[in-house]
Assembly symmetry: C2
Homo-oligomer: 347 residues x 2
């Protein structure tokens, strides 16, 4: 654990709801972390007023840093990078670069966040491209899965780098000493994966990581390994189809509970279970995807989340700093054979 | 609807349970389809004995065709293709080639089934490679999704062919006149899909199909389009992760129901809902993946299914014949521009 107080820079204007979510979330976070500090980045007058309305005792550990612009949720990343130099997102990331904060959290446009964070912070030594990592619930606990959408095409070396980064994240945040790593692949007998995946398997076997081998889609939720590595196209489809399925099943369950003759009685029994189910698949509980591989901790919150979800994302960023995720990645990367091989296949 | 009685060749030895599942399933199917016929392919003595034990009135529409070998569930497809010329799987497919049956159903080794079916039956004109298609439940009904694992790497032309085949299947079996087709892609702003997907989008826009555009993972279960097209790597991961998630949620739900003080009362309310949930995610209900693009109807049943699930697969094969899926594919393929362009990227 770091002994220094941690400051988190919060893009207070990002996301679907802006300060009405980010400010209460930041204060709730501070109330739970008595040594932490938050810098709220965005329109000063608006943020100062929002803080002034709060009665939180943690208010004195929150400061405001002005930024006059906001990156739009649908703004092309390249444009946000080039034109919005005074956006709340960019200024929050600048604070991390300048050492005024140790982590940054934003609920804004993912593509823009990735582009700006990569440009401003740069990647860690040995990392070609950052990946998006998140924890998914499993039968046994959680699995750290990456890449969830940053890189459509990945070289075998990049998949190895993801494995190194994912293992560092899992060992830091989930406190697994030697996390097992699975390579997401297909199970049909005729097909043993594409070339990149096959070569990544060879690199992983030689890597010194605790490599389990290939895993299939269902292994993610079985909790077969602590870390699951895949390219961003596959990861994104997997994550979104899972979200869609969970949502469909929740709605199905709710409608099943509210029909039939036992309605009143049902309600008594049903609501706790329905609520438990909802919590189980609630994206807020798992809110906060890490942009992994940068020279700084950057956490992306879901754009539509509420204060509970956004607080979750700040908490995650804070934990990644106190548990030394960046140092762990750098350390593992330095001793990794094969991770720095041929240039990226990415556009 | 075809006016001719349909004969389905059943690989009676395939799957985890063999004749103890396939024979009762075939008889149940026949009882529900009074004009249909089934040929049970496998070890004659065993199958004749199984039939003799049955009291089904449909027994006289089931015949036995001997085949002395069985393809193992883990046997390499190339080996099964080369060495097991008298396997129940191969002989069942031969019956389709020879016109003695109009469709074949097997719960055996998927890779071997694909390899043998492709070798024996060949693909339809204009189809480079067959795909695995299946119906998944959605909020609105079902979506026909392909490829679910036959082709790891796909050219844009192959993705277009999958769209043509999927639309033909949906229009035949789901009776949607002009099925909407979605191209599975990633939604993050920075990434607009890999090259093959981008080019497939262009081909689809020019195809005359009812092309909706790109869809994301959650659109599958939202029921955004009738057909969803993707390569076999992505499709396989999506399908298996969905199965894993549904299974995890079912187990979670069951354990939630059986704790707390209201246990007896809970049971009254809970069991119907739990059962409804199980039915909803029950793979047996959707059992039967179609090997699409061959000169013959071939349906793959899940290896571990029971008689209900296997009957479902036979019923699906039967429907594909009576609804003229092959004719619809051939017809659409003949008028399709761009579907026959550069050679396959597949290994």
């Amino acid at each position: 654990m770091s002994e220094h107080p941690v400051t988190v820079a919060v893009d207070a204007m990002g996301g679907d709801h802006g300060p009405s979510v980010t400010v209460p979330a930041a204060l709730e976070f501070l109330a739970r972390h008595p040594r932490a500090r938050v810098v709220l980045v965005g329109r000063e007058a608006e943020l100062t007023a929002a803080l002034a309305r709060s009665v939180s005792g943690a208010r004195d550990r929150a400061s405001v840093h002005h930024a006059g612009e906001v990156v739009g949720m649908d703004e092309p990343p390249a444009e946000a990078l080039r034109r919005k130099k005074d956006s709340s997102m960019r200024v929050a990331i600048n604070l991390v670069r300048d050492g005024e904060a140790q982590a940054c959290v934003s609920a804004g446009n993912t593509g823009a966040l990735m582009a700006i964070a990569r440009f401003v912070l740069k990647t860690l030594p040995g990392v070609d491209r950052p990946a998006i990592a998140s924890q998914l619930p499993t039968k046994k606990g959680v699995a750290t899965v990456l890449d969830l959408g940053a890189n459509v095409n990945c070289t075998p070396q990049q998949l190895l780098q993801f494995a190194v980064m994912g293992a560092a994240l899992a060992s830091a945040v989930e406190r697994v000493e030697r996390p097992t790593v699975g390579l997401l692949n297909v199970g049909e007998e005729e097909i043993k994966g594409n070339e990149a995946v096959k070569q990544a398997g060879e690199l992983l076997r030689a890597s010194g990581l605790n490599f389990y081998g290939n895993v299939e889609g269902d292994d993610i939720y079985k909790g077969t390994t602590d870390v699951v590595v895949c390219d961003g196209f596959v990861g994104n489809v997997m994550l979104k189809s899972s979200e869609g399925l969970a949502q469909m099943l929740y709605e199905f369950l709710r409608s099943e509970f509210t029909r039939g003759p036992l309605t009143k009685l049902s309600a008594l029994v049903a609501y706790p279970v329905l609520n438990a189910f909802k919590r189980r698949v609630d994206p807020r509980r798992y809110n906060g995807a890490t942009l992994l591989g940068l020279r700084g901790v950057v956490v992306k919150s879901h754009g539509g989340t509420d204060a509970l979800g956004f607080r979750q994302a700040i908490t995650k960023a804070h934990a990644e700093v106190t548990e030394g995720v960046l140092e762990r990645i750098a350390q593992r990367m330095a001793t990794m054979p094969g991770a720095h091989a041929p240039a990226s296949a990415d556009a």
